[in-house]
Symmetry: C2
Subunit: 229 residues, 2 copies
């Protein structure tokens, strides 16, 4: 016992909800806990905030330590402060929400990240603490964000097809769109570049590849752009 305070202080943690997209379904990154409480139970990557780091830095550090992932799109989600979230002591957790390209990350055996893995959003294992509630909050945020941010930037490969982009939207929003309207609507915004390149080795007609045009996207978001589908 080393640190003393005049008043009681809660412990402060950061937890990360990392979404990935595998081409057809939305996935979330979970780790298997190696310590009590909830040992061997799945949980969101996260841990306690150090006094010499910001909460954002903590979230990135813990994510890297527990899964090997870094340099991902990440933003603060919500702070969870119920009284008995953690059986050990009062812990307040600042939750973060992150998006990664699935192809950029496969959990590797034999490392700290060996216990990390992707889970389909509709086949989740039981989660430690209030992490299911945090995850549901993050999913809601993703559903909102996809309307006014091209989250495909973070979730798809640099080059992708229109069908892949539409599948992502349909997976996130759990809703179907007309292929032709989806395509023309999203092309009309100008945030996509049509590449002079086609997918190789496809069944039937090969689709052309697309990429996001970041400067154009920046320009549009600055004047209150809406990606509504």
């Amino acid at each position: 016992m080393a640190f003393e305070y005049e008043y009681q202080h809660p412990a402060l943690a950061a937890d990360c909800v990392v979404f990935g997209f595998d081409g057809s379904e939305l996935n979330v990154l979970l780790i298997k806990r190696g310590i009590e409480p909830f040992i061997n139970c799945y949980a969101l990557p996260g841990g306690f905030v150090h006094l010499d780091e910001t909460i954002d830095e903590c979230a990135r550090r813990e994510l890297y330590e527990e899964t090997g992932l870094r340099d991902v799109f990440m933003e603060q989600l919500y702070t969870f402060g119920a009284l008995n979230r953690d059986p050990r002591e009062r812990v307040v957790s600042v939750a973060y929400y992150a998006l990664v390209r699935s192809t950029d990350y496969a959990p590797e055996g034999g490392t700290d990240a060996a216990q990390a893995g992707w889970f389909k959003m509709n086949q989740l294992p039981p989660l430690a603490f209030d992490h299911l509630e945090i995850l549901k909050t993050a999913h809601q945020r993703l559903k909102n964000q996809i309307r006014y941010r091209p989250v495909g930037f973070e979730l798809l490969d640099l080059k992708f097809t229109m069908t892949q982009l539409q599948t992502l939207y349909e997976a996130v929003l759990a809703k179907k769109f007309d292929r032709r309207n989806f395509s023309s609507k999203i092309l009309k915004t100008g945030v996509l570049d049509v590449l002079d390149e086609k997918v190789q080795n496809t069944a039937y007609r090969a689709p052309r590849l697309l990429s996001f045009n970041r400067p154009k996207y920046q320009e549009l978001t600055e004047k209150g752009f809406n990606f509504e589908i």
Copy 2:
């Protein structure tokens, strides 16, 4: 010195950004600090989280203690965790955002709330800590929320005129609307009841009074309603 921990813990506080509307301009509630640091400087109402209360409860308690306000619409905004926000020790602050009817609240002299007061959003005094940054974040949230929540519920009197409602939207969004389109668009949603009552003692033609229809609003928000103007 009474409380000991194995690891260092930051202090945890909650601060409230309370917006009010006086009929023509957007206001924010500030208190004059009576203690160091930043003594006599204006700041957001707020204080440290007790270990036997949630952060939400803390925000409501502090707001009541410092301004006398209670039972207001309030929701969590963002958590601010920069390293040197507070010169005393590491303090992480969970910011809340609240809306009140100006007529429901006038700071009273001779009470704990004597130091509280409304300030116009475009005539703010210097603020303590990083409270200006918090305030700007809250204003941005209000601008977003007014699109899909009838924030007039919280900011206007129970009975109001269409012009007052439009003035509120124009004050929040810093944008002008066509009077006739604004009126028909918002009436068409059904969230307003047209009362069989007119304003008394007006210059020129007396406008009719309106009120929000809460059940209708609830019904619409549940099916993904959009109040976009």
